[in-house]
Amino acid sequence: MEGKIIVITSGKGGVGKTTATASIGAALAMENKKVAVIDMDIGLRNLDVVMGLENRIVFNIVDAVNGKCKVQQAAIKDRKIDNLFLIPASQSDNKNVISPAAMKNFCKELRTEFDFVLLDCPAGIEQGFENSVVGADEAIVICTPEVSAVRDADRVIGLLYAKSVLPKLLVNRIVPEMVARGDMLSHEDVVDVLSIDLIGLVPMDDNVVISTNTGAHLIHNKQSQAGKAFRRIAMRLNGNADLPIEVPRAKKGFWGKLGFKRGRNK
């Protein structure tokens, strides 16, 4: 079976592309798929740090695309998950060293090697975006419930359609309490504007920062709501498309519940 190449993009920076790539990649690998996560942000690599693999880098994506090494040499095996591989970005080059044509060929090679390839797209819509999208089959557009993120996601969706890549929406960093108060856009508002298929809703979670800093996998953290959401997204990508999407709900405290039962909750 040919592998699937999924680009994870957003337009806006800092919405959680890298975290999502690492977590969804890890979750897919846990489902016994051979997965590669690729950092496309040449010059500003992050994914290796998030996964705690920075000290193992020998070759990088630029070497692999330009034929200086084999895919197997550039792919670094994860410390904990056997089926998960990272192809890091180059820190010293700039984005123009890879051409879209070379990237397209490289994607063909990746398809034979892996079941799933996740491309961590850089922010913006320049050369780095072009390179990431050119070989992709599908896209996950990450958007936070902010108007600026929605605006950029909308632009990116237009560009993805123009390149006939099918986009799916992931709404990240939802704070249910703020949505309930009306201080934050709800995921319905976001979907209303972007009007593409939803693949998952991920709540705001402090565990993300902790696991990012320690290089541990978020999905291994049993307490993490975000980790759970990413696992469900991976299941949806892995053929279980009908898995219902869970909407993050505000947790009610003990007193809140009591008040609710006595009809005094306001």
Partner: protein, 238 residues
Amino acid sequence: MEDFDSQTSDKKGPAAKLKGVGDSLWVTVDPDRSEDEIKEEINNVFQRLNHLAIGARVVIDPGKKGKSNELIDLLEQLLKEKYQVGSVSLPPEVREKQTNAENRIRQRDLDRSWYQYSSDVLMLTGRVRSGQKINARKHLLLLGDVNPGGEVVAGGDIIILGNLRGIAWAGQSGNEDSIILAFDFRPTQVQIAGYVAAGTSEASGKNPEFAHVENGTIIVEDYIEANPFGRLPWPKVR
């Protein structure tokens, strides 16, 4: 008002025709006919008028071809002496133009000219996303939405059957009559013929709203209540 007028300049038609225009009598003469024929026809018509002709203002219209002043003078003499009309004059230029325009519109209504009308409207379906721009030479009709950051620009009107949340510029040809209409009117900015207005974040009601220029400012109104085209006497090509 009796209307003896007809658009055809048929040779077999009467040599002179009479109709009431405002407070004066409008006499159209066929300059291709002989003076005698014209005189005879005028006598026919004015004899029927009897005392109504006394003191009346008469306009003699020799048609587009024009005719020597001799004929006009002759007819003036005849009318003043025989029927005691008040004054005789040639049709004013402007007046003639207006009448022609009136006739043309009336004619158009009867012909249902829009049957032959080829459209100036760019009709699209879908969603205009951030960073996309639609340019219509004349009117734009969009079955879909305009997202924040999307732009729609038209020489004439912009009609959006959906949400308008982006930028809409209508009347780029300088036409201040242009309107911008949307089911859910929440644009970032609207512009009509050079007048700019910052958008509203909330639509005021459930009904479709439209923006138009009134006294040099852009005004947004409920389309159903304002019903701007409801009072036109008949359907008209825009």
